[in-house]
Symmetry: C2
Subunit: 146 residues, 2 copies
DNA sequence: GAGCGGGACGCAACCGAATTGCATCTGCAC
DNA sequence: GTGCAGATGCAATTCGGTTGCGTCCCGCTC
């Protein structure tokens, strides 16, 4: 299939810079996957990522999984569990890696970050429990599904 | 974990009452599964539910799935997507079926309800989006894991 | 109490997301 | 240019969950 969706070169360059900055080996699959995430306006499933980078270099399914895992470990990406038992990934915002909310459309499964919504800073947990991460998920219908 | 003790009869009776009240057919698997949920202090995976009711009547894996699905449809149970790509179930509290928070231990996967934490009622979503359900999940370590 | 019908159950096969093992290839340090 | 640790690709496997279908049984009726 033709390059119907040309990835902006800027994203690829940004991806390379981030990988370099992390002191990691620079490879085509890593650059491609990270560029897709940086370019995305919403959280993507593994499958969506796979087809998004199809026009360029063909990357093995397993490699996509491993690259995503590696990005999450590096803190460059964020993994969100979905209602449909699959994971979605977003590139981490460098400026705000604090807690933020997610919106998931219950019809089409689209997931976006709600930067504007702040999660309550004071979470009361039972005695002996140690809170580490707070995640706020909003279910509903997105603009194009209702 | 593997508790060979008998399920408190009170829970089984309560389960039967709830099923009756919903105008549904009363069967052994339904009573057993709901009794397990009512007895649980935390959210259980399908697998945990299956082994919890093993000492009593052997219930087919598929039947457990169907019963849980049916309980969720009836509003008697609540399904929580977990970080480990599995679902967990809790019996719905009759008194408070409003939005409430969940705590998940990132080491042992235990999930409990945080009734005390109220989710922010005013969630700002992008124009055109229609929020329906707000879910607040806290990740961390539970009392017995740190 | 016996008969009956539709929904529930159990079994087995199936599906798709994710993972693992292993041989091969490659980025990059020297 | 060379060597090697680490990354990739392929195939097979695992595992949570689902579906199809024949049989069983709850609860209604007579």
């Amino acid at each position: 299939m033709g390059n119907a969706t040309l990835r902006p070169p800027a994203k690829a360059a940004a991806a390379q810079r981030l990988i370099r900055a992390a002191g990691q080996r620079l490879t085509a699959p890593r650059t491609a996957v990270l560029a897709v995430l940086l370019d995305a306006k919403r959280a993507l499933t593994h499958h969506e990522i796979g087809s998004a980078l199809a026009p360029g270099v063909p990357v093995d399914r397993v490699t996509v999984y491993r690259v995503l895992d590696w990005l999450v470990t590096l803190g460059l990406a964020h993994r969100i569990p979905g209602e449909d038992r699959t994971w979605r990934f977003v590139a981490s915002r460098v400026d705000s890696h604090g807690p933020h909310a997610h919106f998931t459309c219950s019809r089409c499964g689209k997931t976006v970050c709600l930067e504007a919504v702040a999660t309550p800073p004071d979470v009361k947990v039972p005695r002996g429990f140690l809170p580490q991460k707070v995640e706020l998920t909003v279910q509903g219908l997105c603009a194009s599904c209702h």
